[in-house]
């Protein structure tokens, strides 16, 4: 029985790690300036944990094979528990220290570093089950949000009051996010009902959109293309269908797009 256990566990271990080695299912290529840090951190962690996973499963398999059934004399681990405990603390301690130092830098670049002072500021509003985006228009100022004016019925997703707020008059509200390539973007995330989430796998960024909070998030996209923005926070029955697109454009294309929107 010990041999069967050993063989089964070796097969399970090898089959489990094969798709990781082969990159069969893998993150899509990153398109943000901070994404490579995340990927590097992912690789480091995969290597470190891969060694731990394979070696510990194989040691378990090998020991079960070697010490099964036979009425041999009982043996004890040479040196007792102390070296084993020390080994565990040192190995995992080194792993933790290295992951924390490198990983914290990756995290800090995304979430703790201030946004570029010339970043393009866009507002995002989430609701059951859609995203909306707001550009400040030629005046560069967003009109204030009035919750009592928010209405899906008349398309006032941000609760703007152009009649009384001058700044709101030129605000542009659209259902998909268009941004210029290689330009720092500062998104302010709002939600009007549930907790939603702004997740673009290619950006390697994820941030909850919480009612009552205005959460800043900044990034720079480096590759032109169309990417899916999906909601990852359970927000109700249509959660699975809540998505929008993020279109990364060249600067001239973006300028044309913006002009078209203001013209509407």
């Amino acid at each position: 029985m010990g041999k069967v256990f050993c063989v089964a566990l070796v097969i399970i271990t090898l089959v489990s790690v094969y798709p990781i080695f082969a990159h069969t299912w893998w993150p899509p290529p990153t398109i943000s300036t901070t994404g490579p840090n995340v990927d590097h951190q992912m690789d480091e962690t995969l290597i470190g944990t891969g060694v731990l996973f394979i070696s510990s499963q194989l040691i378990l398999a090998g020991f079960v094979w070697a010490y099964s059934g036979a009425k041999k004399k009982i043996k004890f681990w040479p040196g007792g528990a102390t070296p084993v405990v020390a080994f565990g603390i040192i190995i995992v301690g080194i792993e933790i220290l290295s992951l924390t130092f490198v990983g914290s830098k990756a995290w800090a670049a995304m979430y703790m570093a201030p946004p570029d002072e010339h970043a393009l500021h866009i507002d995002a509003q989430a609701e059951q089950f859609a995203f909306f985006f707001r550009y400040p228009g030629p005046d560069g100022v967003f009109g204030p949000i009035h919750p009592d004016k928010i209405s899906d019925g008349n398309g006032n997703y941000f609760g703007l009051d152009p009649e009384h707020d001058v700044a709101a008059r030129d605000d542009i509200v659209v259902g998909s996010l268009a941004i210029p390539v290689n330009t720092p973007i500062l998104l302010t995330l709002h939600s009007k009902d549930m907790i939603h989430n702004f997740y673009v796998p290619e950006l390697r960024l994820q941030q909850d959109m919480v009612p009552g909070l205005d959460i800043p998030m900044h990034f720079t996209a480096t590759t032109i293309g169309k990417y899916e923005i999906v909601c990852t926070q359970l927000c109700g029955l249509g959660h699975y269908s809540m998505r929008a697109f993020m279109e990364v454009m060249s600067q001239p294309d973006y300028d044309t797009w913006l002009k078209q929107q203001s013209g509407d």
Binding site: T24, T49, V230, Y240
Partner: protein, 592 residues
Amino acid sequence: MSDASAQPEVHHLAPPTGFIRKHVFSLDHKVIGLQYYGLALAAVFIGMVLSWLFRIHLGWATAAIPGLQLFSPNGAPGGLITPEYYLSLLTMHGTIMVFFVLTNAPFAGFGNYFLPIQIGAEDMAFPRFNMMSFWTTFAAFLVMMAAFFVHDGPPISGWTAYATLSSIGKDAGPGEAMGQNLWAVSIALFCIGQLLGSLNFIATTLDLRTKGMTLSRMPISTWAWFITACIGLLAFADLLPACILLILDRTAGTSFFNPAGMVVSDNLQPHSGGSPLLWQHLFWFFGHPEVYIAIIPAFGIVAHILPTFMRKPLLGGMRVLIGCLIAAGFLSYMVWGHHMFVSGMNPYSAILFSVPTLIITIPFTVSTLIFLGSIYGANLRFTSASLFSLGFISVFISGGISGFFLAQPSLDTYLHATYFVVAHFHFVMAVAAIFGIFAGTYFWMPKMIGRMMNEGLGKLHFWLTFIGVYCIFMPMHYLGLAGNVRRYSAFTDNYLIPLIPVHKFITIAALLTGAAQFIFFYNLIHTRWWGVQAPDNPWDATTLEWSTTSPPPFDNFGGRHLVVRQDPYEYSVEGAATDFIMQTATDTIAKH
């Protein structure tokens, strides 16, 4: 056995005579332990069927499940699961499994039955509290089940019940009216039951140990239940008020979790001043320790079983392992924020929560190394119990490894809320704890019901389950790496569509592995009525539960007050007549 050193005494409670007192409202910890175990069995069956239903839906979104419309005409018209009913099934699966299975079976079930026996007590410290604890839990279960039968069905907010989806009321969606109320009431009741149980476990361990049963001679399983009770006392004392606040927000117009200015279905909500993050802090302050409430008893059970089938004590005695469990329990209260890296809390706090989360891997790595080092040089005996114990080590390694990823905010920003998380917590919390429950069942059922379980069926059950869980949960890591978001009832996003075949594979594996559990159910039922009579000590084990009859008499030891003279795992001691020395043995033999 040379343990009858005291005069026979009568249990301070007379043995019950009537059916109700004996089998229903029993004060006997053994009956209550079996009641908890039975409740967990019923719950795990329901939880498993729910997972089958939503797994079928995930693999084949347009497939109708014949007959389901009879159970839920609104949720599954024509047998086709609606998106909201998918979320209901998911919510109820998670809730039932985490609370009524993973907390009930390894802690309340086995703990109630064996903690008093392992320390030589005749019952728990507070038998009436004990009965109340079970029946409160049972009431919680009935209230939870009632959610299936209310008009708009069970809640859809997941087992984590995040505000504001859970706190607004019916405007938030189907299931968020009466269904969510029942959920909150049920969990509040469950907390009361667990608080009573935890107090009882702690008092019993500290006060009722028999003569000679010092703390260092307590079996590791009893240590694990004791540590778990200490964790539970804090954790459930946190979740109970959180549920009360949730009920108030939902029914009394308060605003603990609801901020001002929310507009739901074009209705401006009459709230102000609350914070949805408050629920997350309260929930995860309970939720992370809850993982250890599920896993530490399983750890204790496996560490208790392995020496018997290795015929040698654990490496380093029990002290290293006990130290690891205490360290993990302590750290479990400092890491709740790792569930909230992307929640909108201050990003600096992510580092603060990440470090202790990574540090928590140290006690668990050391425990795993202790297990591996203990197997070195053993005389392994293969039974269903030992196979599940060895399987536990493997699945715990698999689940623990993925923790390194999720503990890091810089990776959580990609992996958060993906199937990678589902894979992680199922391996480390669910599958590992279930393996502990199975190991405990095959090991202790002869003592609990006085009959031996069928070993052939037990081993078949192990192999199918062991391979099955890897087929179900390992591919979920790959889905997570590809960015597959969890809690989606259908995969309509362009980048998710190519992943559907993986979901189909997982569904088939889940159905087959689930079907294999009927071997276990059959074995259990067959053993109960037709199993071979169990001897008092079928495994040549050493601890006090094997010093009494199978099953034990009402007062556990037939009026004897045992005196403990040995450490709990004295196997293969040189010079001893047998390769095991009972804890009550008077022999003085050189220790290792």
